[in-house]
Symmetry: C2
Subunit: 552 residues, 2 copies
């Protein structure tokens, strides 16, 4: 029998991922605590990650998005759930929260012993003219999704959609609007979609969207909206182009909802999120904060960051509950594992991108590109995975990975994510013993290949060249003539690998040689032959496939 | 330019996974070495893992099983490949190998500086009467598969197959024979198929086979074969039952091929494999051995073991090459990650099984059963994964995992395999940041769930009960009446979770309570409620699903 301390009243503001997890966990740890969960919307614990698929009709039934309802929280967890209730201010000294009934507008203060803030993030809404016109929507809540479905049903003739913002929600909305038969235009301010990816890894995804009929407009800002004479919405842009739309989806990203935290005078971090310590305690020892609204430590870069993802929010909720229940639990930080499905393909990543490493001024890193099959080539249906791996030059520690393909992408990124979590190196990846049967992988798995190549680089067996930066070396193409006929590398000297040993005399000894083949494997062998024969040679990472990918 | 040592002659016996990897890697490291690769069969580097699928017609073209041919090894790698050549003895002192030309029978001795043995394993062939009758086949080589296909084509009326042995090859053959329309019987001597699995985890796989029309006979030994009057083969068994077959597949497992090693007087381990050190050097410093024929260290149990899998063989080949090329490389050992696909489902595991831990007398372990969805339940198509996780009671180190389901099994086992490799714990698994979008996983991923449950156990928040061992506790079923109507737990007291707090007085305080629900989640919450109210309560791991799984 556990010791009975004084009964404690815990108020949790926000009833979705972080808040709901915290409430349930806290109840399991403490039957005696009074737990109140406040939610301004009509629902708690709903599946906001599913909203685009509800719009698209993949998830047809709205009710299936409601993972748990207030009644369940009351019945199973004895939690006092109050929907349609907004916390409008915190009086930290008095330890009260002022609550407003959204329906009646009535306000009153309520006391707490411990407070948990899980307010989430709010959609970025730039002050653009016409932003509130009918037909312009966000996708944050169940009512948002319902409004879009209602609009699409009522405007069945309207066939043109403009989605603004090429992040997760924007792209998922693009797919789902295409799925519903709309002519869809994506407008993104950056010069690439999915900005957590490095640009060359985003290029094939942009190409995929175009293959599916999406008009992808990059590097373009939206300046405003207006109703045009036909009743549609004109989306005006910086370049002067106007895109007419029957529906507009705003997916410009989110920012932490810190209004409440600021009312309590809680510390806010440099990135604009609520500052918390490893126990998820804010600058007020009786107030915890979790989820999209808080700044978290990035375990790869060591910097503070914002990461609006459900997985970390859920784990944070549990950890805050542990601490409130008198345990000492710490959040280990985030590494930014993420995934998105698009038109039957998968894009996923974990850890730091190259652009992040560069922004932070890190130069102790190397990168490789590779294009392994997701399973044994001899088994029908093998698909190529486009992978980029980033690792520390000094000790081989894995820093990040990005992958794209039709199958097996999630699994390889999860393996690498797990290694990053444990401080693993490319040597660990090289030696990983993963499940292998021909319909699942290869005896040397795609993930092993990434480790082997990177380890070859670090052991100095494979000096690397990169297409984007290397313009002075002599290019040596060791592919077969039939391959060169399909795609010739401009300016390259051609000696098929098979003939290389016999034709070394044709290669100048006074130049750096960058060896290229289809994906890098033959170029590596050629590099080894050249190095051992006294040449200065490097392998062009990812070969022709990497060159073509960047050029998409 | 690398230093040029004296030219070295390396002979590699065996040209499939380990041997071929070793040869290619060695060439990349040393352009000057003379490398001879000896293979008794007609092919090198062929896909033996694909053979059952070639029999089944999934891989229709035999040529696609030949990953690399001798010409490629000669042209690209300057390796002297000799197929149809058998190494029949090693004269270790003289450093020669006696080679026999399989075609002509001619023998001659050939010198080596370093020798690599990659002889693989041979099929177990018990001395049973009739073993050589026509229509009885092994599945080890491309000619084996060809012979089966030829037999099936020539005996198109024959519709009854008997497969003896329920390991990987046996089961893959079962699937492929069913795929070809044969009435298939599987006879296995053990009381379960897939003996690396714990028996309760094999049960649903056996049920699956039966659903697909396979006659599964467990605990039955074959005593001999005879031609019956109709021309078919009678398979006689210990129980006296005779199974008539038009084709018989022997898949009784393999044993290391150590004949050659013994001829050289090399040390053989207790498990019957060639003994090697961490550098994969045998008891003769100039002879290395890799692949199915060697004993390897199991990193989970610390014991020596045999593991006939292609992944480790490939990595061992590379490491032997490194050492021969003058580097110091070590093999980290194995953990036994494996996977098999059967009728659209996947079975996979990594690390130690419970039966192995028990056999070794380990008692510092606990186990949990769980049945999470492979992705968010609200996204269409969510499938249950049946998981068992084994971990150390003392420090939470993950010892092994077994999983079965229709989707997402490979990924979760690979994540756990990666953690095992890094000495990871259930606390790491609990906090793993895996890729999440609703069509790929859950905010709390199936793998996280395993970690969370195990961590709850180790933190003493969830004392565990197991159906198989627990027969004295009072069973408390906290499911809803509608669920109990579908499946009632014999002898259980029923109080739905929602009513538990109000009905505590109905529960005896002088008894151990084992709480059961569908999968364990509600039982955990009920356990927490009971414990905090002074009861002695435990959660029945895996709930009704675990009970039903064992009873299959």
């Amino acid at each position: 029998m556990i010791e009975k301390g004084p009964e404690m009243k815990v108020m949790i503001v926000g009833g979705v991922a972080g808040g709901a997890s915290c409430a349930a966990r806290l109840r399991r740890l403490d039957e005696r605590a009074e737990i109140v969960m406040i939610e301004r919307g009509p629902y708690v614990s709903y599946a906001n990650c599913g909203l685009p698929y509800h719009v698209g009709g993949v998830i047809e039934d709205e009710a299936s998005l409601l993972i748990a309802n207030p009644q369940l929280f009351r019945d199973q967890f004895a939690i006092d759930v109050r929907t349609h209730t907004e916390a409008i201010s915190i009086e930290a000294k008095a330890k009260t929260v002022t609550l407003r009934d959204v329906t009646t507008g009535a306000e009153r203060a309520e006391a707490y012993d411990k407070l948990v803030l899980s307010p989430g993030a709010v959609s970025v809404r730039p002050p653009l003219p016409g932003l509130d016109l009918p037909g312009i929507f966000h996708v944050r809540t169940v009512p948002d999704a319902r409004a879009i479905r209602t609009w699409l049903a009522a405007n069945a003739k309207g066939k043109r959609a403009v989605v603004i913002g090429g992040g997760f929600i924007g792209l998922e909305m693009v797919e789902n609007l295409v799925h519903r038969g709309l002519d869809t235009t994506l407008i993104e301010m950056a010069d690439q979609i999915l900005v957590p990816l490095d640009v060359e890894q985003a290029r094939p995804v942009e190409a995929l969207l175009r293959q599916h009929g999406v008009t992808v407009v990059l590097g373009e800002g939206v300046t405003g909206f207006a109703t045009n004479p036909s009743g549609a919405i004109d989306v005006a842009t910086k370049s002067g182009t106007v895109y007419a739309a029957d529906i507009v989806i705003l997916a410009l990203g989110v920012r932490p909802d810190t209004a409440l935290a600021k009312s309590a005078g809680l510390a806010i971090g440099d990135r604009g999120g609520i500052k918390v310590d490893a126990h998820l305690r804010t600058s007020d020892p009786d107030i915890y904060a979790v989820g999209d609204a808080v700044e978290v430590r990035d375990i790869v870069t060591g910097t503070d960051t914002l990461l609006a993802l459900a997985g970390p929010a859920n784990r944070q909720g549990r950890i805050a509950a542990d601490n409130i229940a008198g345990r000492s639990a710490t959040f280990r930080g985030v590494q930014g594992s993420a995934i998105i499905g698009l038109f039957g393909t998968t894009v996923a990543w974990t850890g730091a991108s190259e652009k992040t490493l560069r922004r932070l001024g890190r130069d102790d890193y190397e990168k490789i590109y590779l294009y392994p099959n997701h399973h044994a080539r001899y088994y029908p249906g093998a698909k190529t995975i486009s992978m980029k791996l980033l690792f520390a030059k000094s000790d081989g520690r894995i820093l990040g990975a990005q992958a794209y393909g039709e199958d097996g992408v999630d699994r390889r990124i999860d393996v690498i994510a797990t290694l990053i979590q444990k401080g693993g190196t490319v040597y660990d990846l090289e030696e990983a013993e993963l499940c292998y049967a021909p319909q699942y992988g290869s005896a040397k798995d795609a993930a092993n290949f990434a480790g082997m190549i990177a380890a070859n680089v670090l052991r100095n067996d494979m000096p690397l060249a990169h297409w984007s930066v290397d313009h002075t070396s002599l290019l040596l193409d060791v592919r077969e003539p039939s391959e060169i006929a399909d795609y010739a590398v401009p300016g390259a000297l051609s000696i098929p690998l098979k003939q290389l040993r016999a034709r070394l005399s044709e290669i100048p000894r006074n130049r750096d040689i960058a060896v290229i083949c289809r994906s890098g494997q033959r170029a590596y062998l050629a590099t080894r032959i050249l190095l051992q024969n006294g040449f200065t040679a490097r392998t062009l990472s990812g070969g022709v496939l990497a060159v073509q990918q960047s050029a998409h």
